[in-house]
C-alpha cells in the first residue's frame, strides 16, 4: 500500500461517514466566525428553531468592519461611525450572546483578524479541521491542519451539525527547494507560485507546501504562504508539522497543557506525508530563482519580478488571455512594456491576514527605519493583525519607527485589504499593498492594487515607486 499524504491523513481522521454517492460527512473541530458572513447563518438557525451542535468549538471575533482609527476605535461598537458597519458588528455580539458563543470583543486586546487570532490564541491546533466563512481560512493549514473557507449556508450547517458534506480533493505538492535570497520572503514565494500555476492552478486540489525553503520559514511565513493558496485556486494549503510548529503552539492560551500537551505532541508528529505518498500533481520551484514580486494587473497571477516589464496583450496565446491583459492594463492605467519600477505609488498598506504578524512588521520596520516616506505618497497605513501583535510591536518600538517615517499606526482589523471600513483607496490611486487580492475595486472604487511583501511595501513607501528591497539591504550593510 502506498503512503498517505498529509491531506489524506487529516481527511481519514475526520471522516464520520462515507456515502454511496461519493460524498462524505467530515467532522469540524474548530469553527471561527466573524461579523460579515455569520448573521444570515444565525438567522437561519433561528428560523428553523435549531441550536448549536457544540458550543465550545466556535470562536467569534469582529474584524472586517472594525475602524482602525485609534480615536474612532476607542468608542467600541457604539463609536463606529458607519451605521451599517456598526449594526453588523453589533449583530455578531448579539448572536454570540443569544447562542452562547465565545466572542473576543472589538476592544479586547486579543481581538484582531480572525486568521491571526486563531493561531495566536492556540485556537488553531495541528491536526484539526478548521472552517470559517472566509476564503483565507487556508492560512491555518500552516499548522498542519485541514482548513478552508466556506459560504454562509455551510456556516449554518457547521453550527447545527458540526459537520460538512464534502468530496475529497486531489493532492498537489509544491516543493520549494534550495534557499531564498536575502530580501525575498514567504509573500514573494506565494506570488511566484501563483504566477507559475495561475489563479485556477490549484482548483480541485489540496496543496501541501514542502521543501527546504518551507521548512526554514517561520510560522508567520508559513501562514503567509498557506493564506494565499486560495489565490492559486486551492481552498486549502498545508504544511507538515515539525519542531517550528510545536514550538509556536506551546504555551498559547487555548493549547493543551501538562500531560495533555505531551499526548497531543505525540499525535501531531504523525502529521506529515508518508514517503511514497501519491500526489496527482507535483510542482518544483528553485527558491534561489525567486525575486521580489509585484503584481501589475487585476488578478494575483498577473505578477512580475521587480526587474520585469509589463506584458502586452499581443504576447498572450489566446483571445481570452489577450482580452484579460488589455482590460487589466486599461484598469490599472499602465502601458505595455513599462518597467515595474516605474509604477508610482499613491498609498501604502501594510496589514491583512496575509502580512500583519509581528515578523511582517519587523521586516517593514527594518527597511523604513531612519527613512521617510516619499512626499508623493499620500498615506502609508500600518495595521497590526491583532491587539497582541500591536502590543508586541510597541514593546519593540516598531510603532515609533513607522510614525517617525510618516506612516500611520492603527488598531487591528482587516482594514484596507478590502475596505469595508473607512480605510479605502481613492479612484485611480495605486497602492503598494501587503494584502492578497488585486481585483478591480477591491481596496476601493477605482483603486489599483499592487501586491507585495511588507519589505517591498516599505521600500515603495520610501521612494514613491516600486523598488528592489535588496538595494536597501545592500546600502544598509555598507
Amino acid at each position: 500500500m502506498s503512503g498517505q499524504t498529509l491531506y489524506d491523513k487529516l481527511w481519514m481522521d475526520h471522516l464520520v461517514e462515507e456515502r454511496d454517492d461519493g460524498t462524505a460527512l467530515i467532522y469540524i473541530d474548530r469553527h471561527l466566525l466573524h461579523e460579515v458572513t455569520s448573521p444570515q447563518a444565525f438567522e437561519g438557525l433561528r428560523l428553523a428553531g435549531r441550536n448549536l451542535w457544540r458550543r465550545d468549538s466556535n470562536l467569534a471575533v469582529p474584524d472586517h468592519n472594525v475602524p482602525t482609527d485609534l480615536t474612532e476605535r476607542q468608542g467600541g461598537i457604539e463609536g463606529i461611525v458607519d451605521a451599517t458597519s456598526q449594526l453588523q458588528v453589533q449583530t455578531l455580539e448579539d448572536n454570540c450572546v443569544d447562542f452562547n458563543v465565545k466572542q473576543i470583543p472589538i476592544n479586547d486586546e486579543r481581538q484582531g483578524i480572525v486568521h491571526v487570532v486563531g493561531p495566536e490564541q492556540g485556537a488553531t491546533l495541528p491536526g484539526m479541521t478548521i472552517v470559517c466563512g472566509d476564503s483565507h481560512t487556508s492560512t491555518h493549514g500552516a499548522l498542519g491542519s485541514l482548513a478552508h473557507g466556506i459560504g454562509t449556508s455551510e456556516v449554518e450547517h457547521v453550527l447545527a451539525t458540526q459537520c460538512l458534506v464534502q468530496t475529497k480533493m486531489k493532492n498537489m505538492r509544491i516543493d520549494i527547494f534550495g534557499s531564498l535570497q536575502a530580501g525575498v520572503t514567504a509573500k514573494d514565494v506565494a506570488l511566484a507560485v501563483i504566477g507559475q500555476i495561475g489563479t485556477a492552478g490549484g482548483s480541485g486540489y489540496a496543496i501541501e507546501f514542502a521543501g527546504e525553503v518551507v521548512k526554514s520559514l517561520s510560522m508567520e511565513g508559513r501562514m503567509t504562504l498557506c493564506n494565499m493558496s486560495i489565490e492559486a485556486g486551492a481552498r486549502m494549503g498545508m504544511i507538515a508539522v515539525d519542531s517550528t510548529t510545536i514550538d509556536y503552539v506551546r504555551g498559547r492560551p487555548y493549547a493543551p497543557k501538562g500531560e495533555l500537551w505531551e499526548r497531543a505532541v505525540r499525535s501531531w508528529k504523525n502529521l506529515c506525508s508518508d514517503d511514497g505518498a501519491i500526489f496527482e500533481r507535483e510542482i518544483r520551484i528553485d527558491g534561489a530563482s525567486i525575486e521580489p514580486q509585484v503584481t501589475w494587473g487585476t488578478s494575483p497571477e498577473m505578477v512580475l519580478p521587480i526587474a520585469g516589464r509589463l506584458p502586452s496583450p499581443e504576447e498572450a496565446t489566446d483571445s481570452t488571455k489577450r482580452e484579460a491583459i488589455r482590460r487589466a492594463l486599461e484598469y490599472m492605467d499602465l502601458a505595455p512594456g513599462t518597467p515595474v519600477s516605474d509604477i508610482p505609488v499613491d498609498r501604502v498598506f501594510i496589514g491583512s491576514c496575509t502580512n500583519s504578524r509581528i515578523e511582517d512588521l519587523r521586516q517593514a520596520a527594518q527597511i523604513i527605519k531612519g527613512r521617510n516616506i516619499a512626499a508623493s505618497v499620500k498615506q502609508a497605513l500600518v495595521v497590526p493583525g491583532s491587539g497582541i501583535v500591536k502590543a508586541q510591536a510597541e514593546e519593540e518600538g516598531l510603532d515609533k519607527i513607522f510614525l517617525a517615517a510618516g506612516m500611520e499606526w492603527r488598531a487591528p482589523g482587516c482594514s484596507m485589504c478590502l475596505g469595508m471600513n473607512s480605510d479605502t483607496l481613492g479612484d485611480g490611486e495605486h497602492c503598494a499593498s501587503t494584502s492578497n487580492r488585486n481585483f478591480e475595486g477591491r481596496q476601493g472604487f477605482g483603486g489599483r492594487t499592487h501586491l507585495v511583501s511588507p519589505a517591498m511595501a516599505a521600500a515603495a513607501a520610501v521612494t514613491g515607486y516600486f523598488t528592489d528591497v535588496r538595494e536597501f539591504l545592500r546600502s544598509d550593510s555598507i
Binding site: 464520520v16 454517492d21 461519493g22 460527512l25 467532522y27 460579515v36 458572513t37 448573521p39 444570515q40 428553523a48 465550545d56 472586517h64 451599517t84 458597519s85 453588523q88 465565545k102 491546533l125 491536526g127 484539526m128 466563512g133 472566509d134 476564503s135 473557507g149 466556506i150 459560504g151 454562509t152 449556508s153 455551510e154 447545527a160 451539525t161 458540526q162 459537520c163 458534506v165 468530496t167 489563479t199 485556477a200 482548483s203 486560495i230 485556486g233 486551492a234 492560551p253 487555548y254 493549547a255 493543551p256 495533555l260 499526548r263 497531543a264 497571477e301 488571455k321 482580452e323 484579460a324 482590460r327 478590502l418 475596505g419 469595508m420 487580492r437 478591480e440 475595486g441 477591491r442 472604487f445
Partner: protein
C-alpha cells in the same frame, strides 16, 4: 431551498475570465445582515458608472450602457454564460445570492472556483461546466442571435438548444444533483446521521481530549 428541474431562458454574456466574487458583489453590500435584495447590486462596479452604496435605490443611477445586463436584448436573462474560473476569490455567499436575486438560475462556464461552485448549490443556482470549445460555440451563437435561449435539464444532465436539435451533456455529482432537484434542506439530511456523529465525537473525546477543552477564558 428553491428546487431546480428544467430552466428555459435567455442567455446573457459575462465574457471575461477569472470573474471574482468582488466583481459579482462588491464589499460595501456585504454589510447587510439579511439574505435578500442583493440583485440590484449584482456586478455593481461595472453595471453602473457611479459607486453604489448599500440600501441605495438604484433606479436613477447612471448605467454603463456597454454592460450586457443593461441591454434590452438580455432583459430577463436567466442563464449566464461565462469564462474560466468563474467566481474566484472571496467565499462570500452574497455572490450566488445576488445572481439568484437578479433572476439567474444557471451559470455556464468552462470552470468554476471551488467555493463559489459549492455555494451555488445551496441557493437553487446551477453551475454547469462545459468544455472551453463548447462554451466558445455558445458565445458565438448567443452573440449572433438576439433572444438566444437554452434549455437546462438537470434531471437528465443536458443543455439543449430551444429546438431540441442539439443536446450537450454535463455532469453534476449525484448528491448535489439530488439536493437541487428536490430543493432539500441539507442540515436536515445531515441530522439524519446524528447518531453516527455522536459516536464519532465520543471516540474523538477519548483519543483527542485536548480538542474538547472549554473555551470560556
Amino acid at each position: 431551498m428553491r428546487s431546480f428541474e428544467v430552466e428555459t431562458g435567455i442567455v446573457a454574456p459575462m465574457d471575461r475570465a477569472n470573474v471574482d466574487t468582488d466583481l459579482i458583489i462588491p464589499k460595501q453590500f456585504l454589510k447587510a445582515i439579511g439574505r435578500s435584495g442583493f440583485g440590484a447590486y449584482l456586478f455593481d462596479s461595472i453595471r453602473y458608472t457611479d459607486e453604489g452604496q448599500p440600501g441605495q435605490d438604484c433606479t436613477g443611477r447612471p448605467l454603463n450602457k456597454e454592460f450586457p445586463l443593461n441591454q434590452s436584448r438580455y432583459k430577463n436573462a436567466s442563464i449566464l454564460l461565462a469564462r474560466e474560473n468563474f467566481g474566484c476569490g472571496s467565499s462570500r455567499e452574497h455572490a450566488p445570492w445576488a445572481l439568484e436575486d437578479f433572476g439567474f438560475r444557471c451559470i455556464i462556464a468552462p470552470s468554476f472556483a471551488d467555493i463559489f461552485y459549492n455555494n451555488c448549490f445551496k441557493n437553487g443556482l446551477l453551475p454547469v461546466a462545459l468544455s472551453s470549445e463548447v462554451v466558445d460555440t455558445l458565445f458565438q451563437k448567443m452573440y449572433a442571435e438576439e433572444g438566444f435561449r437554452l434549455v437546462i435539464d438537470l434531471e437528465n444532465e443536458i443543455v439543449k438548444s430551444i429546438d431540441g436539435a442539439t443536446e450537450i451533456p454535463f455532469a453534476v455529482d449525484s448528491f448535489r444533483r439530488k439536493c437541487l432537484l428536490e430543493g432539500s434542506d441539507e442540515i436536515d439530511l445531515t441530522l439524519k446521521s446524528k447518531d453516527r456523529i455522536r459516536e464519532y465525537e465520543n471516540l474523538k473525546k477519548q483519543n483527542y481530549p485536548w480538542l474538547f477543552q472549554s473555551n470560556t477564558q
